[in-house]
Symmetry: C2
Subunit: 197 residues, 2 copies
Amino acid sequence: MLYLQVDKVWYMHTRTIREQLLDYAQTLIMLRGYNGFSYRDLSELVGVKTSSIHYYFPSKEDLVFEAVNVYSSEILAELYAIDPSQPAHLRLDRYTRLFSKALGEGDQICLCGMLAADMASLPEHVRQAVQSFFRSNETWLGKLLTEGRKQGTLVVSGSPEAAGRVLFASFQGAVIASRLFGVKTRLEEVTQAYRAL
Amino acid sequence: MLYLQVDKVWYMHTRTIREQLLDYAQTLIMLRGYNGFSYRDLSELVGVKTSSIHYYFPSKEDLVFEAVNVYSSEILAELYAIDPSQPAHLRLDRYTRLFSKALGEGDQICLCGMLAADMASLPEHVRQAVQSFFRSNETWLGKLLTEGRKQGTLVVSGSPEAAGRVLFASFQGAVIASRLFGVKTRLEEVTQAYRAL
DNA sequence: GTCTATAAACGGATAGAC
DNA sequence: GTCTATCCGTTTATAGAC
């Protein structure tokens, strides 16, 4: 739920049409990918005509660009909100739970993982937004692994940068496999593989 | 190149229309996903009308089902052809090179990884074919890691089954990231992360 | 802002001639 | 087997009234 300041007073805010459109667009991309949903799908979910959607997002590329930026901002905000003073292995558990939310009801995958798969259909500025999301996660995980090794709770080999990239790839692959097999355990198996005995 | 025995004689065989269709379908799926290509695309690539494609593959689901089965058979044949008497870490390098071929000219990802992302658009028997491919790879990698640990060349933690699943997920995620960033190093970083010092 | 109406191309699929 | 012709719903997008 969002709040808006108008005339120095805070009003509770029911989501605008624009917000609803972005929200459902995110869900549909995570479910079926960029080429797997249409303005008609959104139209039926939100209850406006497809021509009204073009008022907010002139083209589908505009819509997906804004959707990926909103998604990225929200996830990264949660990521950077993880208390850095916590032991590394506990922060890794927090990250795993954060990533698990992408699964939704078990039928979704990470929006940026999906768009990375659909990249051949997407314009350059969307690629850059997705790359930015990947890099932020990879860097964060790389630092986490370095501290975990120092603290003796996580097992890492090689450079922290490369290890962060590999770990993020594992999570992306794991969430895809998790949905494919209809199980929730795949993400935790990734975490488990990095835990020191 | 295929060879066919006709009247006790081996003739070199130019690919049939059917074979070309399956071949290009595989490429298009690896490029753009199930919802990202059409019978028209195939029609222009092979040089037959779209109605002729329906002669071989009545529906698009028939086409993708056969494509995933051909792809799976070919990759698994190469996988099982890897000499089991070789040291585990060398077999892992062979696997990495095998998986790298999915990248093509750098613009493709693994067909089964792509279809796993597109799974919400696909029928149940395609899901089972993709699951089967995942399981075969995961099992093979799990055994490999077990032997690598025994031989002291690979670093693994936890059960071999779970480790195989995590490693396969890493490869799937790595090939997606590899294409996203236009680099070829991501797959090797995965291998590197499992190598004992 | 939202609608109706419409455009123009594309989607998978079928019938029937050759 | 391959084609022409066609069906009919879908898709993204625009123009213009309200």
